[in-house]
Amino acid sequence: MNGIYLLKRLITSFAAFCIAVTIMFALLRLMPGDYITMYLEAIYRYAPPDVVEAFNRVYGLDRPILEQYVIYLLDAFRGNWGYSFIYKVPVIAVIGEKLVWTLIILFPATILATLAGIGIGAYSGWRRGSKADVGLLNGMIFIRAIPSYWLALMILIIFAYYLNLFPLGGYVDTSALATGIDPLDVANHAVLPILTLFLFSVTGTYYLMRNTMLMTAGEDYITTARAKGLDELTILRKHALKNAMLPMVTLITFECAGMITGSIFVETIFSWPGLGMLTYKALAARDLPLLQGILLIDTLFVIAANIAADLIYPLVDPRVQVGDDA
């Protein structure tokens, strides 16, 4: 069962990547005007017709469309994602450099949000109807309703501008020019972006965990456990929590895509030099190859997160057989 499931997941991931590439191929063909002319003008500022023709030949743009598609697809798998209009270097190089910075804020935020969401959600669902539960629930609904860009701006204004606790933006202090990059300084700059992404993401985990908990709390095995005389904490930990874990796998898919969206706004507002701010710059400059590369890397990111979740959950809970339809 597990083997078949994994195979299914791999095929799905492969298909998703191919479709993302196909959409781009189609968009490039639909674009008004000649791509090579636009390309050369963007990079070298001029495009003589004979050079355009030569480029068309070298890149195989004079061949049948089906052959072009196959070449494009193979190149996408090889990491040849074209040249960025604004940076004038291969897209994959730009993305590789920025990806690290995004991961620096995305990883801690996701892990903290998942842990906190599970913990608070379980508590809230277990103590259903209590004052603490209603308070937490309403608080979470409130946080979830605030747009992420607005939340980021407010956090920036309060913590950086008025309270002056953290820097206003960027990733290092200007003194780094003389002394080199200090990891502590980077961490100090990363606190507010991480906090915003955390708040943005924790509500989803909380909400799901609480709902699952409400469903679980009425099950017979919980009543049995209580009848056995187990204390509440043991029931929660050993019986309720474990059974509530499976839906989390599904949630991680949504959250990852959501976090990418969130990071676009958060990075833009905090001037954090990651993929999100790159997206903003690429949008402003209408740098299509770069935008496409970002979509590809985002797709790969979601695929990786899905596979990771599939692999991690059986470790956390041996009873969980990912892929069983139960």
Partner: protein, 273 residues
Amino acid sequence: MHKKIVLAASLGIVFAYCAVALLAPVIAPYDPHAITGAPLSPPDRDHLLGTNDLAQDIFSGLIWGTRATLLLGFVGAAIAVTVGTAAGIVSGYYGGLIDEAVMRLLDVAMTIPIFPLLLILTTFFRPGIYLIAVLMGLLGSFQGVRLIRSQVLSLAVADFVVGTRALGAGDGYIMARHILPGVLPLAGVKFVTSAQHFMLIGIGLGFLGITDPSVVDWGQMINRASQNGAMILGLWWWLIPPGLAVTLISLALAWLGYACEDEINPRLRVMRV
């Protein structure tokens, strides 16, 4: 009791926004694109929320922006829910190969992050506000398919459906008259939560500079204010109102959606316990 107040308040806010959107030309004192005095002037009697760097009246922009927000949210949600419900019913009712095909297609589609794809499509086609709403709706319909389908799966084998079929009713009739009413409450909740989601996304697009230049939208206003030093200069009346306006409608829809969900799914009912 507490729940009823929240429900009434959120409904009231949604209706108030609709009224403002409809009456925008009457309420707004100026054309939101017009130059109406000195740039960056603080709030006074002529300009309730002052003017921006282009000397446009911020209050008028705020009022007119209601239209774009509601339009993006409700048109997007209507499309997403219609497509999602239709696909979910067909997939769940017929089952078998059709269901398998739809589910595998969804698996693939949901792996591609929607927002970056939306960014590329909107940058590429530079669509007007209606097309942006349609694009959002289509890309955002995937989640709903699964939700509706899981409900339909149990409805499709229910006695009253089997009985109706035994009486000779066709598939189309059963789906429209017996399955659809069963999933309508769920689709209703999905409509409310989707509308909230699409409003946030739509204004987010505006914030990133992807807008229909002929409409005023709050995302654009927030972006303009934050990029032009409203924060550093302490011009709160420029930066705060559009954000508060989004947050308020988003909050009202979130609470509305939550109250509805609570109503149709008694196992989640807690506030009364």
